[in-house]
C-alpha cells in the first residue's frame, strides 16, 4: 500500500486516479500510523509553497514526514511537494522542510528560449529530461520521453542531489534526490505513459524494499 499524503495543498485525487489505473493499492491519508505502515509515501502538491508549508506545520505533518524519511521510508515528492523538500522557497518567503539541501528559484522572465523569444512563465507544457545520474525510477522510459510541467519556481538543490535537468531558458533541476527519496518538478500523474511508468517504478522500488525488510 502506498500512502498519498493528504493535506490541503495537494492534487491527491489525480495521483490516486493514476495509481488506481495502474492497479497499485493506495490510500489518501494524513494518519501517522497509516503513513508509517505504508510501503512508501507520495507527497503531491499544487498551489503555492507558503500555503503548503503552513498546512504541513499546522498539522504537524512536517515533523512526521522528516521522521519517516529518516527512518528510510521511500518518498516521492511531486511539483510543490518537490520544491518544499528543500530548505527554502522565495515563493511567499517560505522556510521549507530542509530534507534535501538547496532552495528554489523563480524563472527569470528576461530569459530567452531556443528561438530567442522571452520565456513565458509559468513553464507550462511538455518537456524532456536530461539524465545527470542513473535513476531507477526512470527505468524503461525512453530518453526522448516528455513530461508535463506547470510551475513558476524550480528546485535548485545541492549539485550532489541533481538527478535530471530540463531546459527552459535556463537548464534547471527537474528531478532530484537519492535512491529512495525522489522529487520531481513535473507531474507524472499527468504525463501519459512515461509518467505512469515512473509511478509504477516507484511502487516496485517500495515493494522490493518492503520485502527486503
Amino acid at each position: 500500500m502506498l500512502a498519498i499524503l493528504d493535506y490541503k495543498a495537494g492534487n491527491q485525487t489525480s495521483v490516486r486516479r493514476a495509481l488506481d489505473h495502474l492497479g497499485i493499492p493506495c490510500r489518501i491519508t494524513n494518519d501517522p500510523d497509516q503513513l508509517a505502515s505504508s510501503l512508501g509515501i507520495i507527497f503531491p502538491g499544487v498551489g503555492a509553497a507558503g500555503q503548503a508549508m503552513d498546512e504541513l506545520t499546522r498539522t504537524g505533518l512536517d515533523t512526521l514526514l522528516k521522521r519517516q524519511v529518516d527512518a528510510g521510508k521511500p518518498l516521492l515528492g511531486i511539483c510543490v511537494g518537490c520544491q518544499i523538500l528543500l530548505d527554502y522557497s522565495p515563493e511567499n518567503d517560505t522556510k521549507a522542510l530542509g530534507i534535501i539541501p538547496g532552495e528554489c528559484l523563480m524563472f527569470n522572465r528576461a530569459l530567452r528560449d531556443e528561438d530567442g523569444a522571452p520565456i513565458r512563465v509559468p513553464h507550462m507544457g511538455w518537456n524532456r529530461l536530461s539524465l545527470e545520474k542513473p535513476c531507477e525510477i526512470l527505468d524503461g522510459i525512453e530518453p526522448e520521453a516528455e513530461f508535463y510541467f506547470v510551475h513558476s519556481y524550480y528546485p535548485n538543490p545541492d549539485p550532489a542531489f541533481v538527478l535530471a535537468t530540463t531546459s527552459y531558458g535556463v537548464r534547471f533541476c527537474s528531478l532530484h534526490g537519492r535512491p529512495g527519496l525522489w522529487a520531481v518538478q513535473f507531474h507524472p500523474e499527468k504525463s501519459g505513459r512515461p509518467g505512469l511508468k515512473l509511478l509504477s517504478n516507484f511502487y516496485e522500488y517500495c515493494r522490493r524494499l518492503g520485502h527486503a525488510q
Binding site: D113, E114, P122, W126
Partner: protein, 259 residues
C-alpha cells in the same frame, strides 16, 4: 525545450459529442470519454471539452463526464462552457479537470478571472477570446474586436487590450479563436495570433480554422502560438494526430513525439 502542443477540442451537449467523431473504418463514436481516450492514446498533448449544454441538469451530466475522463486519460484537460462562478470552477476541477476556461462570462464579469486565479492558481484559468476583424477605430485600435454569442454580438472591446487585461487579472493562458477563420479550414488568422502572442507573457492557443497541418505549423512558428487547437481535421478522420505531429516535426516545430 518546451514542445508545442496539439490539442483536440470536443464539443459536448448533454454528455454526448455534438458531432460524432469518425475514426479509422468510419466508426462513429459519440461518447466523449471514449473519444478522449483514443486521442490520448494517439498522442494528444491536452484535450479541451466545450460544454454547450444550456440546462443546469446538463451541467451535472458534464461533471460525470469529467470524472470518467479523469480516470481514463493521464494528460491535462480543460473544460469550458457555461462556467460563470468560482463554485462552477471548483466543481469542474474537483471532478478531475486541470483547467477551466471562461469566455463570454469573463467579458461580462472580468472579476471571475481574478477570483478563479486567486482560488485555484493562474495555471487553472484559461480565457477564451472570440475575435473578429473590424475597421481600425478609436475604440478598436488593433482592428480586432471581441465578440460573443458565436460572433453575433460585438462587445466594443479591443482584442489586444482585452488580452493584456485578462493576463493582468491572472489568466494563465489565452485560447484565441478567430471567428473569421473558424470553420473555413483556410488556416488560423496569423496576424492576430502573432499580435496577441507577442504582447502577452502567457501561452496562447491558436484556434479557428485548420483543415490541414500546414496552417498549424504557421500558427506555431510565424504566429508564435504555444499550442494549436484542432477539431474537424481529426474528428472527420482527414488526419490523425500522429500524422499532424510528424508533419509539424518535419517543418522544424518541436512537438512531443514519444507518448
Amino acid at each position: 525545450m518546451l514542445s508545442k502542443r496539439v490539442i483536440p477540442c470536443l464539443d459536448v451537449r448533454n454528455g454526448k459529442l455534438t458531432k460524432g467523431v469518425k475514426f479509422k473504418g468510419n466508426i462513429d463514436i459519440g461518447d466523449p470519454v471514449e473519444t478522449a481516450r483514443i486521442y490520448y492514446e494517439e498522442g494528444a498533448d491536452e484535450i479541451v471539452f466545450y460544454d454547450i449544454t444550456a440546462s443546469s441538469e446538463g451541467r451535472g451530466i458534464m461533471l460525470d463526464v469529467v470524472d470518467k475522463v479523469a480516470s481514463k486519460i493521464f494528460i491535462p484537460f480543460s473544460v469550458g462552457g457555461g462556467i460563470t462562478t468560482v463554485d462552477d470552477m471548483r466543481a469542474v476541477l474537483l471532478a478531475g479537470a486541470e483547467k477551466i476556461s471562461v469566455n463570454s462570462a469573463a467579458v461580462k464579469n472580468p472579476d471571475i478571472v481574478s477570483q478563479g486565479a486567486a482560488a485555484f492558481g493562474s495555471q487553472c484559468i484559461v480565457v477564451g477570446m472570440d475575435v473578429k476583424s473590424v475597421p481600425v477605430s478609436e475604440t478598436i485600435p488593433s482592428g480586432y474586436e471581441i465578440v460573443i454569442h458565436g460572433g453575433r454580438k460585438f462587445m466594443g472591446l479591443d482584442a489586444l487590450d482585452w488580452a493584456k487585461t485578462v493576463e493582468a487579472l491572472g489568466a494563465g493562458e489565452i485560447c484565441l479563436n478567430s471567428i473569421d477563420a473558424d470553420g473555413t479550414k483556410e488556416g488560423y488568422e496569423l496576424t492576430l495570433t502573432r499580435l496577441i502572442s507577442e504582447n502577452v507573457g502567457i501561452p496562447v492557443i491558436a484556434s479557428g480554422g485548420a483543415g490541414a497541418p500546414a496552417p498549424q505549423a504557421d500558427a506555431l512558428t510565424q504566429g508564435k502560438a504555444s499550442a494549436a487547437l484542432i477539431a474537424s481535421i481529426v474528428h472527420y478522420g482527414e488526419y490523425t494526430i500522429p500524422q499532424i505531429k510528424k508533419y509539424l516535426s518535419g517543418e522544424g516545430v518541436k512537438v512531443r513525439e514519444v507518448w
